[in-house]
Symmetry: C2
Subunit: 420 residues, 2 copies
């Protein structure tokens, strides 16, 4: 029986110095290893290990939520789900996740490639950097992982085995179920928001029957619709970038859920970045950045839709919408009609998930740096209020919205305070 021990810079070389794959990458002289703990996330320990030959990242889960402390236990097995998700994402969109060098299930340790000079996408966007590749890379990543993890592509026996495996990631699903879909909409203990500036709109949203019903419909969908293996936490803090490369990290929330969830959460974070730019602006210098962010949203969705459609026509080898019923009978239009319905349903649900994600980041426990780093509370609240309004519009009207152009035009009008 092995005992879990949280790593520190002294014990790390003892624990990992015998693993060939790590020695190969870092260098065999463990006494020369330089070890820094750099974890700034909410949950885990993260070390960078530099040696004579190179560097690796060592990520270790703790048996509790790091942000809160031992009073909020969280099982180590999330590291196992993260590892399993990384393996599948690498198969489904090669090169988009970090290379894994070593996994220790008992100690909840994943040792992986050190990405450099990559930085967290959220940080880059706060700084006003325009990354030219992200729209295409993230559109492809979502389309490929979501399509290839579903009954559209997989052998259904394998998908059902995976469904069973990931259904044990119940504690992390529970976090999403509560923090995203419910807590923001009542006075939950862990909530906070910019107060008193947002008190009025927060009161309004929590009294908004249509919004709360939609949020719960979306929770129902999230909890029931085990359609594909999701990343589960795909926001701009889970993406590392250089101008030349995009990588997706941290899939410990992975589980089988609705395709629309990953896409919706991701787009929400770009719309929030859009509204937060005013808080980081000097002399109106973020106008281009705002245009860029709306272009990214369009680009991700268009790429997702195009790649999903390409896979539909070329890799639809699962039990759903079989060729036997359509193409093989000369009815390719039948399969296209079905594709249109599937995409329409992803679109509608994606807008809803985007809406609630925007709310929970401003009203719930886990805020994001885009807004949090705006020191002037009045200014921050003005930015946040716009995101709250767009979120409400998307969640409640998701079945009636026709195009990204329409949403981005509304975002522009909210930004200029033409509508409120």
């Amino acid at each position: 029986m092995t005992v879990f021990e949280a790593l520190n810079s002294q014990t790390l070389p003892l624990r990992l110095g015998g693993t060939a794959a790590i020695l190969d990458r870092v260098g065999v002289d463990t006494s020369a290893w330089k070890i820094r703990e750099v974890g700034d996330g909410n949950l885990n320990l993260v070390f960078i290990v530099d040696g004579t030959k190179g560097s690796v990242v060592v990520k270790q889960a703790l048996p509790y939520v790091r942000l809160v402390g031992e009073s909020w236990p969280l099982p180590l097995k999330r590291s196992y789900f993260e590892y399993q998700a990384l393996v599948r994402q690498q198969e489904r969109d090669p090169g988009m996740v970090p290379e894994i060098l070593h996994f220790d299930r008992e100690q909840a340790i994943i040792v992986m490639e050190f990405l450099t000079p990559h930085i967290i996408l959220r940080k880059a966007l706060i700084e006003g950097q325009q990354l030219p590749r992200i729209a295409r890379d993230l559109g492809l990543f979502t389309a490929r992982t979501l399509f290839r993890g579903s009954d559209l592509s997989m052998e259904t026996r394998k998908r059902k085995e995976d469904l069973a495996l990931f259904s044990d990631n119940v504690e992390l699903c529970d976090i999403t179920e509560n923090l995203v879909f419910s807590d923001p909409y009542y006075e939950a203990t862990l909530n906070r928001h910019t107060t008193p500036q947002l008190d009025g709109i927060v009161r309004e949203l929590r009294a908004d029957r249509d919004l709360k019903v939609e949020a719960q419909r979306l929770k129902h969908l999230f909890a029931s619709n085990a359609e594909t293996l999701l990343h589960g936490d795909l926001h701009t803090g889970s993406v590392m970038v250089t101008p030349e490369e995009t990588r997706v990290i941290d899939p410990e929330f992975a589980f089988y859920g609705p395709m629309a969830f990953d896409v919706g959460m991701l787009l929400a974070n770009f719309w929030m970045s859009y509204f937060s730019q005013a808080g980081h602006e000097k002399d109106g210098d973020r106008a281009d950045m705002r245009d860029y962010l709306l272009d990214v949203v369009v680009g991700i969705w268009d790429t997702f839709r195009d790649e999903f459609s390409r896979l539909w026509h070329t890799e639809r080898n699962g039990i759903l919408y079989q060729r036997t019923l359509f193409e093989d009978r000369g009815d390719a239009l039948g399969s296209t009609q079905a594709l249109d319905e599937v995409l329409q349903s992803i679109w509608t649900d994606m807008l809803g998930f985007a809406g609630v994600e925007m709310h929970r980041r401003i009203l719930g426990l886990a805020h994001n740096a885009d807004f949090e780093t705006i020191e002037d509370a009045d200014l921050r609240a003005r930015c946040e209020a716009k995101a709250l309004k767009l979120g409400r519009h998307l969640a409640v009207n998701r079945r009636k919205i026709h195009s990204m152009a329409e949403i981005n035009a509304l975002a522009g009008r909210l930004e200029k305070e033409i509508v409120a």
Copy 2:
């Protein structure tokens, strides 16, 4: 390591004669046991054991499909899923499933209460019997099992454990996925239909793009939406009745799927019974029976809806649509709005599942006795064609149909050949 052995009347007392619960029910003198094999289903062995004290039913799975033979293997573990489902159904709607006396996982044996003088509901309906309790009993059974097996009621951790458990029932899901949703809509090897009488309409249905797309949308829903523990095979052959009592048997297809599936399959079988009455009629003596069957359909749906609504208001203790967001804030109308949306979605999907069930019973592998026992092929085909037409209407127009009265009126017009 135990070896599976199919029971026969010689080995049965040796295998089961040491089990106190069985001896208590049947009588301790095993040499006096009278054993009859009565299985007329597609899959299993079924024995009735009569002793000095009483009787039991012994159901044993075989490692293949009995109907087809050893060339179609089917795992014994389905017996385990049936047992697990029976236990849960007994908890969720006490008294509606047979009492279980003994379960042997390795030998795939379930020993249960002998129901007498019950007969299979399908048989009763073919004979023209009007059972006064079935609408209410089956409406309650579906509402209670479907509500109480979902995140509306269960602790979500427990539901996710159950989801993982039943996701291993992949071979039986596979049968439904193929035989219900796909095979009827192309020239699959195992299909058969009344030929040549139905050849024209069959050709039409298999060329019907909208129908095929809907059938695949429903398959997508069936395979992905792990909303609740389904019976999975809830037709009139899975119900045993007396005028005073209704029991539901044979849940070996149990798995986590959409609530609407059980209800849709069940109602389809009453509509098929309706159209089959003409094949069993003497001198127009089934007019009352036809009225009765349409009343049963209305009664099941109304009871389902009423009981589901009652449970919504009194037992909604799961993670979805929490009281904290609605009733506890004085917004009971918010929870009613959500209930209306949930019921609307079950209604719409239920009609779709009913439509494809009617098709697969006439075009696919597993036909039903309602039509099969009509010896005159021309007459049988006329009955079947009406069911095929109603099925197509329901599947394709399910989002536009408002009431059961509207559907039953259409059934009446099809029966009288006013529409075709």
